[in-house]
C-alpha cells in the first residue's frame, strides 16, 4: 500500500476493539435483528433539514435522519469554466473517517476513494435532471457533501441535502430532488423496508436508493441491486420509495422557506 505522506500516520495496522468483543456483539445483533422485524416497514424516520448554515459557502444544507445519519452539504455556482457547452454539475462526496461504525476509514486509501467516486457519480446522476443547466452555459456548479455519521440511507440523505444546498445557493432548478432508501432483509418472505438503519442495511439482501422530483413526479435516479425476488417485488419497492419521497418533500420545502425568512430578517452585513 503506498504511503500517504500528506497525513500523519499511526501504526501500519490497527483493529477496532469490536473485533475482539465479537462473541458478545453477535448476540446483541441477533436481538437487534429480532426487534427490527417488528418495525413497520413503511414508517419514515424523523427527518431534520436546515438550509443556509455555513457562512463561506453560497448555499448549504444539513440533513439528519432519525437513525443517526448526518450529512452536511455546500454548493457554489455558477463559476466560469473553460470548456464551451452547457453548464456542468460537479459533485463530491466525502465520508468523515469517524463516520462508520467499525474501523476508522482511511482517507487516502484507494478503496475509500473509489467508493467516494461512485457515490459522487450517483449524486450527479440524481441532481442533474433537477438543475436547469441550460441557463448556465460555460459554467460550473459545484456541490460538496460530507457524511459525518453513517446511520443507514446515507446516499439518499446526501441527495436531499445536495438539492437543498443548490436551492439555497440560488441555482435555478426545476424541482428539489428527494432521496429515499429501501432495503430487503435476507429472510425469504420479507418485505421491503423504508429508510433502513445501519445494521439493517448491512444485513440486507437487496438495497435500493431512489431520487424523485416530487412536484414534477419524475424519478431522477434509481440505484441498487441484490437478490430482490420477482420483478413485481421491485415494482412494489419502487412505489414504496416514491411514496416515502413524497412524504419527505414538505419538510425540505419548509426548511428552505425558513432559511429564506431568516436571511431576510437578519440585519444585513
Amino acid at each position: 500500500m503506498p504511503l500517504d505522506h500528506r497525513r500523519l500516520r499511526g501504526p501500519e495496522e490497527s483493529q477496532p476493539p469490536t473485533l475482539w468483543a465479537a462473541a458478545a456483539a453477535e448476540d446483541e445483533e441477533d436481538e437487534e435483528g429480532a426487534g427490527a422485524a417488528a418495525r413497520d416497514p413503511c414508517a419514515l424516520r424523523p427527518l431534520f433539514a436546515r438550509a443556509g448554515l455555513l457562512s463561506q459557502a453560497q448555499g448549504s444544507a444539513y440533513v439528519e435522519l432519525g437513525s443517526g445519519t448526518k450529512v452536511l452539504c455546500a454548493a457554489w455556482g455558477p463559476r466560469e469554466a473553460a470548456e464551451p457547452g452547457p453548464g456542468r454539475l460537479i459533485c463530491e462526496f466525502r465520508r468523515a473517517p469517524f463516520a462508520g461504525r467499525g474501523a476508522r476509514g482511511r482517507p487516502g486509501a484507494a478503496a475509500e476513494r473509489e467508493a467516494e467516486r461512485e457515490a459522487a457519480a450517483a449524486l450527479r446522476e440524481a441532481l442533474e435532471p433537477a438543475v436547469r443547466l441550460g441557463r448556465y452555459p460555460r459554467a460550473r456548479l459545484a456541490v460538496s457533501a460530507l457524511l459525518l455519521q453513517d446511520g443507514g440511507s446515507a446516499l439518499a440523505a446526501a441527495v436531499s441535502a445536495a438539492a437543498l444546498a443548490l436551492a439555497d445557493a440560488g441555482v435555478e432548478m426545476y424541482d428539489l430532488a428527494v432521496g429515499c432508501a429501501l432495503c430487503r432483509p435476507p429472510a425469504p418472505a420479507a418485505s421491503w423496508m423504508l429508510q433502513p438503519a445501519e445494521p439493517e442495511e448491512r444485513r440486507a439482501a437487496a438495497r435500493l436508493t431512489l431520487a424523485l422530483l416530487p412536484a414534477l413526479n419524475q424519478v431522477s435516479a434509481v440505484l441498487g441491486g441484490g437478490r430482490g425476488g420477482p420483478p413485481e417485488d421491485w415494482a412494489q419497492a419502487l412505489r414504496l420509495g416514491l411514496d416515502g419521497c413524497h412524504r419527505q418533500y414538505p419538510v425540505l420545502r419548509q426548511s428552505l422557506l425558513r432559511a429564506a425568512q431568516r436571511r431576510r430578517s437578519t440585519p444585513p452585513s
Binding site: 500528506r6 497525513r7 468483543a21 455555513l54 469517524f98 474501523a103 459545484a142 440585519p267 452585513s269
Partner: protein
C-alpha cells in the same frame, strides 16, 4: 434528535458597518437643515416640520431626507444643552450595539466574513433601544454643524460621519414589502460607497476601524467571538465535539483502535491527529489530498499534544510490547472563518474528554485480548492546553481571534498555547512581522485569561474530567 445543535445555529450575522468612520470635516459644513449660505445657528429655527414658521428669518426647513413622509416634531433633546456632541461620551460599545447597517439593498451575504458576536444578537433583539438612541443622537435644534453622535447605522462613535444624521425612521413598509426595522434608509450612496471602499482598499478600511480600537464587527481588539461547543453528537465515534468560534466551525471525532506498539517504544500507545480542510469549508480549498495549510495544522496539533503532555502515551499502553491503544483524532473544518488553530485545539480537548474506552484485558492462558464493551472508562487527561491566536497588523497592532478577512490582511500571526497552571506550552510564530518582547508578554497574558474563559466552558459541560 438535534444532535449537532451547535452546527444548526444560524451563522452569526455580521453587523458590519457599511458606513465608514470617516475623518472629521476640515471645516464645519453647513448642516442640511439650513440652506447653504445662511450664517450660523440663528438662521435656523427648530428642525420643525416644513411649513411651520420658526424664528423669523429661518428658511423653511427642507425635506428631512429621503423617505420621510410625515413631518415629525423635533425629538426632545436628551443631552444637556451643551453641544449636541454630548452624545459622543456614550461608549463605543453602546454605539456598536445600537448600530445596524443602513439600507438593505445590495446586502451581500457573508461577504464581510467577520464573525458576529453577542452584540449582533443584542442589536437585533432591541430595535426600540436603537430608536431611542438615534433619537437622542439627532442634533436637536442646533444648526451649526458639529460632530453629532452617530445615530443607528453608523460605526464607532468618535469619528463623525461625512453626512449629518437624519432623524430616526419609524419602521414602515418599503415598496418591496420588507419592513425596515429601525434601519436608516439613506439614499443608498453611503452603503455603496463604503462597500466599494472596502473592496478597493480593504487594508485602509480596516485601519480606519483599528485607529478607533475596534473592528468592523464591533469587537474590541482583545475580544473573542462567541464560542459554542457541542459534545458527543457523533455516536459512531468514541468521542466527538463540535466547536463554533463565531462562524468558524470545527468538528473533531476520535476513534480508538488496538495495535501492537512500536518496537522501539514498547510501552507507548499512539495518538494520530489529522486536520482536514475539505472543499466545503471555504472556496479556496480544493478537493483531494490535504493541502499545505491542512498538513501544517496537523503537525501543529501533534506538536501541541506532545509539548503539553495532554495525553501521556504510556497511559495508552495496555500490555507492554503486545497491545496498545491508537487514538485517531480527525479534525474536520466545516466552515473556515479564520482562527482554525484555536478552534481545533479546543475541539480536540473537548472530544478527548468525551472519549470512553472499553476495558481491555489480556487473557493469561490464551494470550488473547478480551474487550469488555459494557465497561467503559474515560481517558486520563493530564493537562488542558488552550490555544490563543493573534494577528499582527502593520507590525504594531495585535488583535485576538482574527477572522478570515483579518488573517488575509495581517502581516503576521502568533499562536500561544497555555495550560491550566498558567504555564506556557507552545509559542508558534511562523514568520511575519517581528514582535517586541513586551508585546509577546501581552499576548501571553491574554492567552492566560482566555484559558480561564475556556476552562469555565469545559467545566460547565464536561464536569467529570
Amino acid at each position: 434528535m438535534l444532535c449537532l445543535g451547535a452546527l444548526c445555529q444560524v451563522r452569526h450575522p455580521t453587523p458590519c458597518r457599511n458606513t465608514l468612520p470617516a475623518q472629521p470635516p476640515a471645516q464645519a459644513q453647513p448642516c442640511r437643515l439650513c440652506r447653504p449660505g445662511r450664517a450660523g445657528p440663528a438662521a435656523c429655527g427648530t428642525a420643525g416640520p416644513p411649513g411651520r414658521a420658526g424664528t423669523p428669518g429661518s428658511a423653511p426647513a427642507p425635506r428631512l431626507g429621503a423617505g420621510i413622509e410625515r413631518p415629525r416634531p423635533p425629538p426632545p433633546p436628551r443631552s444637556p444643552p451643551g453641544p449636541p456632541c454630548a452624545a459622543l461620551t456614550r461608549t463605543r460599545r453602546k454605539a456598536a450595539r445600537a448600530a445596524s447597517a443602513s439600507a438593505a439593498a445590495g446586502r451581500d451575504r457573508g461577504s464581510d466574513g467577520s464573525g458576529g458576536s453577542a452584540i449582533a444578537r443584542g442589536s437585533r433583539g432591541a430595535p426600540a433601544r436603537r430608536d431611542s438612541d438615534a433619537e437622542a443622537a439627532a442634533p436637536p435644534a442646533r444648526c451649526r454643524w458639529e460632530p453629532p453622535a452617530p445615530p443607528s447605522g453608523q460605526g464607532p462613535a468618535a469619528p463623525p460621519p461625512l453626512w449629518p444624521p437624519l432623524p430616526p425612521v419609524r419602521p414602515r413598509r418599503l415598496p418591496g414589502g420588507q419592513a425596515a426595522r429601525g434601519r436608516h434608509i439613506r439614499g443608498g450612496d453611503g452603503t455603496a460607497m463604503a462597500a466599494a471602499f472596502k473592496t478597493v482598499e480593504p487594508l485602509e478600511y480596516y485601519r480606519r476601524f483599528l485607529k478607533e480600537n475596534c473592528r468592523p464587527d464591533g469587537r474590541e481588539l482583545g475580544e473573542f467571538r462567541t464560542t459554542t461547543v457541542n459534545i458527543g453528537s457523533i455516536t459512531t465515534a468514541d468521542g466527538s465535539a463540535l466547536v463554533k468560534l463565531g462562524n468558524t466551525t470545527v468538528i473533531c471525532g476520535i476513534k480508538a483502535e488496538l495495535a501492537a506498539p512500536a518496537v522501539d517504544s514498547a510501552n507507548k500507545g499512539y495518538i494520530v491527529p489529522n486536520v482536514e480542510l475539505p472543499s466545503l469549508c471555504a472556496e479556496r480549498f480544493r478537493s483531494g489530498p490535504p493541502g499545505e495549510e491542512a498538513q501544517a495544522a496537523s503537525q501543529y496539533i501533534a506538536d501541541v499534544i506532545e509539548n503539553s503532555q495532554m495525553i501521556v502515551k504510556e497511559d495508552l499502553c495496555i500490555a507492554n510490547g503486545k497491545l496498545a491503544w491508537v487514538l485517531y483524532c480527525d479534525i474536520i473544518c466545516l466552515d473556515y472563518d479564520g482562527n482554525l488553530l484555536d478552534a481545533s485545539v479546543f475541539a480536540l480537548l473537548a472530544a478527548l474528554k468525551n472519549v470512553q474506552l472499553p476495558l481491555v484485558t489480556i487473557n493469561e492462558e490464551t494470550g488473547l485480548s478480551e474487550v469488555n464493551l459494557k465497561q467503559k472508562n474515560p481517558l486520563i487527561i493530564r493537562k488542558h492546553p488552550v490555544a490563543t491566536s493573534f494577528a499582527v497588523f502593520d507590525d504594531t497592532l495585535l488583535i485576538v481571534d482574527p477572522t478570515a478577512e483579518e488573517e488575509d490582511l495581517a502581516t503576521g500571526t502568533v499562536t500561544i498555547v497555555t495550560d491550566e497552571e498558567g504555564r506556557l506550552c507552545s509559542v508558534h510564530k511562523p514568520g511575519g512581522s517581528p514582535l517586541t518582547g513586551a508585546k509577546l508578554q501581552d499576548c501571553i497574558t491574554r492567552a492566560i485569561t482566555r484559558h480561564k474563559e475556556v476552562k469555565k466552558l469545559i467545566d460547565k459541560w464536561l464536569p467529570e474530567c
